[in-house]
């Protein structure tokens, strides 16, 4: 009996330890402002804000809000079943504005907004709104369209690849635009599409990229967020070119990033926070694209010599057409 009890305790302790040892990436966090009644803004991200991509870009927006509006800011990584709880926690703390950085925050935002009329909840993409909840939509598709166009112009094998993390509509939509861009440049181009299903699995991203390159792809674009390094590493190994996404990833140490489809989120975050601070926010969905200066495609200056002048010129013209509204890039609503 006594041994059994010891075994049971040891088992319990082990199980408890195993559960406690869940790996968690070091998290960048912003310092605390004073706890006086100030304008308070919180940011919820699906992944670590140190990912140099989707989450990092929102974090920059938050830092801009802290700096320019003197707001007390806070951020937390949260996903799936914990989203509502985190939103409620910030609202209970009297936060004025809670950003959820992804379309998956849209539904919880609208729902939690009902219980907390004094807090504004905004998600990055998503289609539902309330008087104190809404979304902004970054038209990253425009950047992906340009990247796709470049890949179509420059591919030698006639095959290009897209490597995604989870198979979600926001990522699907950008891939659709990339495909359209590639086909515009080279009708009949073959576009390989792979989803690893995971957001931060570097090894899976690398495997998927190697497989795509094995099928002949010589240009790879990604939507792998924190796992992007896996894509770049695979490209370096096989000597093919990649595109960066969300943030300017041209300076990635792999040296394979030819250009990046970037979101410049600061103006959008700042503008929204300003309207909330001034009490003029009304809910709704706002689109931020190339026209608003929120989306761009930037070349890697170190590799620009490898890009034919003709391609660079065509890209400039394409960007001009998108900005002027002459060309509208396919975009899913979700």
């Amino acid at each position: 009996m006594r041994t059994m009890k010891t075994v049971a305790l040891a088992g319990a302790a082990l199980a408890f330890l195993a559960w406690g040892c869940e790996p968690s990436a070091p998290e960048a966090r912003v310092a605390q402002g004073d706890l006086q009644r100030s304008f308070r803004v919180a940011l919820l991200t699906p992944g670590p804000v140190s990912d140099a991509g989707w989450n990092a870009m929102a974090f920059r927006g938050l830092q801009a809000i802290q700096k320019d509006l003197g707001a007390t800011v806070n951020n937390q990584e949260t996903s799936e079943t914990k989203i509502r709880d985190a939103m409620r926690s910030y609202a209970q703390e009297g936060y004025d504005l809670v950003f959820g950085h992804g379309f998956e925050y849209n539904e919880p935002a609208v729902e939690v907004a009902k219980d907390f009329p004094k807090t504004v909840f905004v998600s990055s993409s998503g289609g539902k709104t309330a008087p104190n909840a809404g979304a902004f939509r970054f038209a990253l598709e425009e950047g992906f369209y340009v990247a796709g166009y470049v890949s179509g112009m420059m591919t030698k094998t006639g095959k290009v690849a897209m490597i995604g993390g989870p198979d979600v509509p926001s990522i699907r939509s950008t891939f659709k635009a990339f495909r359209a861009g590639a086909e515009r440049a080279k009708p009949g181009v073959q576009v390989i599409e792979t989803f690893t299903g995971k957001d931060a699995d570097v090894a899976a991203a690398k495997q998927a990229t190697l497989a795509a390159i094995g099928q002949g792809a010589d240009f790879v674009v990604h939507q792998a967020n924190a796992a992007a390094q896996g894509v770049f590493d695979a490209c370096k190994e096989k000597g093919v070119a990649a595109f960066g996404a969300n943030l300017d990833q041209n300076d990635n140490a792999s040296g394979v990033v030819l250009g990046s489809a970037v979101i410049n989120a600061e103006p959008a975050f700042l503008g929204l926070a300003k309207s909330v601070k001034e009490g003029t926010y009304q809910g709704g969905i706002e689109v931020y694209g190339m026209k608003q200066g929120a989306i761009d495609f930037v070349w890697n200056p170190n590799l620009a010599s490898k890009v034919p002048a003709m391609v660079q010129e065509m890209v400039e013209r394409l960007k001009g057409d998108i900005t002027s509204g002459k060309l509208s890039v396919p975009m899913d609503q979700f």
Binding site: M4, V7, A8, F16, S24, E80
Partner: protein, 329 residues
């Protein structure tokens, strides 16, 4: 005494993380009981601990070591979510049936482990741990397969309509009616051991199986019953979380309640009311350290460190007192 150890653990954790102890403790206190939100949060955290803790007590009192609270909790949530997907239930009827399905699901899983121990001599310590993994895999599969929300975009089940969720007392606080379920369960388990014949048999089998056998008690049957009841309580905890807090299940649904409840049950002296007190203590600790992690620079790891240190500290103190022979716990 326990409170002092917990406080000491908290201070050590704060010191290790380099947080100013005064602001750290005040953040914890505020998060745990600083305002109505804090109190509600503490109680909400305590509810699953109470239920799973009681489940641990029932099994351990019968001499069966149920380490599978986590798995039974998950299966409880799964059963409730499955029922919600299968039948168009709304309102109070829905709430009651979710909880019933959850309890039944947990009971079946734990009964299986009990059956294996009684009839196949496989220790429940091992089967329950292994069944945890089975349950987690089942959850993983279900939220990407049959139970996935209709748009099939996220690994989550469909969200319950708010009319089918356990009512909240105040829409802004988190406290839901599940707190009554927990208190009722404490009273019921206390009465079960004190007044019922079956409860007496469970205690007898756990404390002295030879006497039980000599008195022609079917010890196997009693153990299986205890395991089923234990599993039902753990499953119920999952059902209460599903219908009271999350309204959907997904990858993050198993939050480790099943594991944390084991030290909680031990801390509560394997007594119903003791479990309630220990759960409140840990509920407050969780709510407080979450607040600390959110509003200081230390990050979420501190929650686990504080938890782990407190559990170790309390268990060590128990051990030390017992070894010293000074009265015992």
């Amino acid at each position: 005494m326990t409170a002092a150890i917990v406080l000491a653990s908290v201070l050590v954790a704060l010191w290790v993380f380099g947080v100013d102890p005064v602001s750290g403790v005040s953040l914890i206190a505020k998060g745990a009981f600083g305002d109505k939100f804090g109190v509600a949060r503490t109680l909400v955290r305590a509810v699953p601990l109470v239920l799973v803790g009681l489940g641990v007590v029932v099994a351990w009192r019968a001499g069966v070591f149920n380490i599978g609270g986590e798995g039974q909790y998950v299966v409880g949530g799964l059963a409730a979510a499955w029922l919600a997907a299968a039948l168009p239930l709304v309102g109070p009827l829905a709430m009651v049936s979710f909880l019933a399905a959850a309890a039944l699901g947990g009971a079946c899983l734990a009964w299986l482990a009990g059956w294996l121990e009684v009839h196949r001599r496989v220790p429940a310590v091992i089967t329950t741990i292994l069944l945890n993994f089975v349950s987690l895999q089942a959850l993983d599969w279900a939220v990407r397969g049959p139970l996935q929300e209709p748009t099939r975009q996220r690994p989550l089940s469909a969200r319950l309509p708010s009319e089918s969720m356990l009512p909240r007392f105040d829409p802004q606080t988190d406290l839901h009616a599940g707190v009554f379920v927990a208190v009722a369960a404490v009273a019921a388990i206390w009465a079960f051991f004190r007044y019922s014949h079956a409860g007496f048999l469970v205690r007898l089998v756990g404390e002295n199986p030879r006497v039980a056998r000599a008195n022609r008690t079917d010890t196997g049957r009693t153990k299986k019953l205890a395991m089923a009841l234990s599993g039902a309580l753990c499953g119920l905890a999952g059902g209460v979380t599903y219908a009271g807090v999350s309204g959907q299940i997904g990858d993050g649904f198993a939050e480790g309640w099943g594991f944390l409840a084991i030290p909680v049950a031990l801390l509560g002296g394997l007594e119903a009311w003791g479990v309630l007190a220990a759960s409140l203590l840990f509920g407050a600790l969780l709510a407080g350290s979450e607040n600390l992690s959110r509003f200081s620079a230390v990050g979420p790891t501190v929650v686990y460190v504080i938890q782990g240190l407190s559990v170790l500290g309390v268990l060590a103190a128990f051990r030390w007192r017992r070894a010293g022979g000074a009265g015992g716990p």
